[in-house]
């Protein structure tokens, strides 16, 4: 393991164009060694393309990047010797068994025939895959495939591990398992660059987060900094009578002093709750808003105070929604505000 204090990743103005699309449009990154860095953004934001450049799979059209001081184009081999990649689509061979995958990769990484078998058996045991070691990966469940994929990435300890949306498509139980695995790997000293569409995931795992949209980093900071910029949380509520919606909107806008969003449900409303700077300020503000609704004779059947959702982070950071299906919501909001 490198013990010097070179950053794990330094990227400077990375650009990648596919035809007319600038998939990555000038990304700068500084990832300290030993940390978990979250790369947060919607589908198509440029997360995977950035990772593919950093993992030496794609050449940047402009800009430079170094991994532990090694240039990703000129010293690709030195970079490859330090990184492991777990792709968005399982980076294991679907036509081989779990055991064969690990033995093959261990052989490629320089293990002897016997060494490769020992290492594969250790990993299968630790990742709860011993029982299915002889089954072809095509027949694995999503969670098993992810575990095998991550196991394949730590056959030798990488200094930097790229995890491209490691939990997309997993159920909550499998997601928790994968998070636990990632924490263990980080505890062993590996730097992790994690891409995700979920703020929650970045929040759980990452020391710092970069928010990426349309190929550009639009915000960077710790999870707390990001959330403070978005507001303390999001209030979602449902009214008993959809006819009260305009009145409820007016009340919430007055008390919370933020734009109110309508959902697809005609009786539902949502609003970001502004950060008050005090520890219990948020819940007081929400309690106040609910009291005001009740005073106006508006019956609320259901309410929840949660973390801001990714769309809300985007709305706050960019003033426009992140995904296509959020566009219609946003337009409605504007009309309502007008």
């Amino acid at each position: 393991m490198d013990l010097d204090s070179r950053p794990a990743i330094e990227a400077d103005g990375l650009v990648k164009t596919f035809g007319a699309t600038r998939a990555v449009d000038g990304v700068d990154l500084a990832v300290p060694a030993g940390s978990v860095y979250g790369f947060l953004g919607p589908n198509g934001a440029g997360k995977t393309t950035t990772i593919r450049m950093l993992a030496t799979l794609l050449r940047p059209d402009a800009g430079t990047a170094r991994v532990f001081g090694h240039e990703i184009v000129g010293e690709a081999d030195a970079v490859r010797a330090r990184v492991s990649l777990t792709g968005q689509f399982a980076s294991v061979d679907e036509d081989l068994t779990g055991l064969e995958n690990l033995v093959l990769l261990a052989r490629l990484l320089g293990h002897s025939r016997a060494g490769a078998r020992t290492r594969a058996a250790e990993l299968l045991e630790a990742f709860d895959l011993t029982g299915t070691a002889g089954r072809v990966v095509k027949k694995y469940s999503g969670g098993m495939r992810r575990r095998l994929d991550i196991a394949a990435s730590i056959i030798v300890t990488p200094e930097l591990l790229f995890l491209d949306e490691p939990t997309t498509g997993l159920d909550p139980r499998n997601r928790n398992q994968v998070w636990e695995i990632i924490r263990q790997i980080v505890a062993g000293g590996t730097t992790v660059l994690l891409t995700t569409q979920y703020l929650d995931e970045a929040d759980q795992l990452a020391d710092r987060i970069a928010v990426i949209d349309h190929g550009k980093v639009i915000a960077e900071g710790t999870s707390a900094q990001l959330k403070a910029s978005v507001g303390a949380g999001a209030l979602h509520l449902r009214l008993r009578d959809a006819g009260d919606l305009p009145a409820a909107e007016r009340v919430l806008a007055r008390v919370l002093r933020v734009p109110v969003q309508r959902g697809t449900d005609p009786a539902a409303l949502g609003a970001r709750v502004p950060s008050t700077g005090e520890a219990d300020g948020t819940s007081e503000l929400v309690a106040h808003a609910l009291a005001e609704l009740s005073r106006s004779g508006i019956a609320v059947t259901d309410f929840a105070l949660g973390q801001p959702r990714l769309e809300e982070v985007f709305l706050a950071l960019t003033g426009r929604p992140a995904t296509a299906d959020a566009v219609s919501n946003h337009d409605t909001t504007k009309e309502n505000a007008a």
Binding site: L85, E94, L104, R107, L109, D128, V136, I155, Q177, Q184
Partner: protein, 276 residues
């Protein structure tokens, strides 16, 4: 499952499984190529039905040509069999080489290729391994043709040594030609298109050669094409080796052509692959 899950959630398992000590020395180009060759063999082992083509193809062609046209072309089906078996061997191997291009273009689009390419191994070893693994497929196809021919009454004058030499020569040529399709698979990427092109090239070359027809019986313009067709040269040499009548010139031509194919297309394919 549930008890093991608890182990995972308490977490000690993964901590323990991070390897202790230094990582092993890097795999060399040869051992990486062999590892990828092993991967190709495992794929055959898991889906043996993919050999269906290479077994059935020669059986159908042998039966079809020997019994349908053999008597008319060579006077008797027995005599025609002696003529056509070495040709069907060559044809089967040639057609089989065509699959590597489309298989590779499918393989490349999968996530596992990203992993291979992000590993510190000699990059072309992926291709070398695939081509080496395919040699086993060719060998199985060759054995199928020869055994089926023998069962029908193929009695080569060159004996076992001649037959083996003929098969080896056809394998060498196929291995070399596979590099062309490998390059094509890397350039074209759409697997159906790759397969279409290889078939469109290979079948006419096979039919307008001396595999099934006796060149002396053909009209002049067609004969001119058949005589320069590389497949004709390959088949003449293989037939010669099996009959014990091959000349150094015939065998030398095939070896030179094989060397030329490999020297031109293998580096191009490897270069193309490194820049994907």
């Amino acid at each position: 499952m549930s008890t093991q899950t608890i182990t995972m959630e308490t977490g000690n398992a993964h901590r323990a499984v991070l390897p202790v000590g230094d990582r092993p020395p890097r795999a060399g180009a040869l051992s990486a190529s062999i590892a990828f060759g092993w991967r190709a063999l495992l794929k055959i082992k898991h889906v043996p039905l993919q050999l269906f083509d290479v077994i059935v193809h020669p059986v159908v062609f042998t039966l079809l040509f020997t019994f349908l046209f053999g008597g008319a072309v060579a006077g008797s089906t027995g005599r025609y069999l002696q003529y056509v078996v070495p040709g069907i061997l060559a044809m089967t191997l040639l057609v089989t080489t065509g699959y590597i291009g489309s298989a590779l273009s499918i393989d490349i689009s999968k996530g596992v290729f990203d992993r291979f390419r992000s590993m510190p191994v000699w990059r072309p070893s992926v291709l070398v391994g695939a081509v080496l693994g395919d040699l086993v497929r060719y060998a199985i196809a060759a054995a199928g043709v020869v055994l089926f021919g023998l069962a029908l009454g193929f009695r080569p004058e060159g004996g076992p040594v001649g037959v083996l030499a003929g098969v080896l020569l056809a394998l060498v040529f196929s291995f070399s030609l596979a590099w062309l399709w490998t390059l094509l698979g890397l350039v074209m990427r759409a697997s159906n298109a790759v397969l279409g092109v290889t078939q469109a090239v290979l079948y006419p070359l096979a039919f307008f050669s001396n595999i099934f027809a006796i060149p002396a019986s053909l009209p002049g313009w067609l004969r001119a094409f058949v005589d320069v067709n590389p497949v004709t040269h390959l088949v003449t040499a293989v037939r010669g080796l099996m009959a014990g009548t091959a000349t150094a010139g015939q065998v030398g031509w095939v070896l030179l052509a094989s060397a030329a194919l490999t020297l031109v297309f293998a580096p191009l394919a490897m270069r193309r692959f490194s820049r994907l």
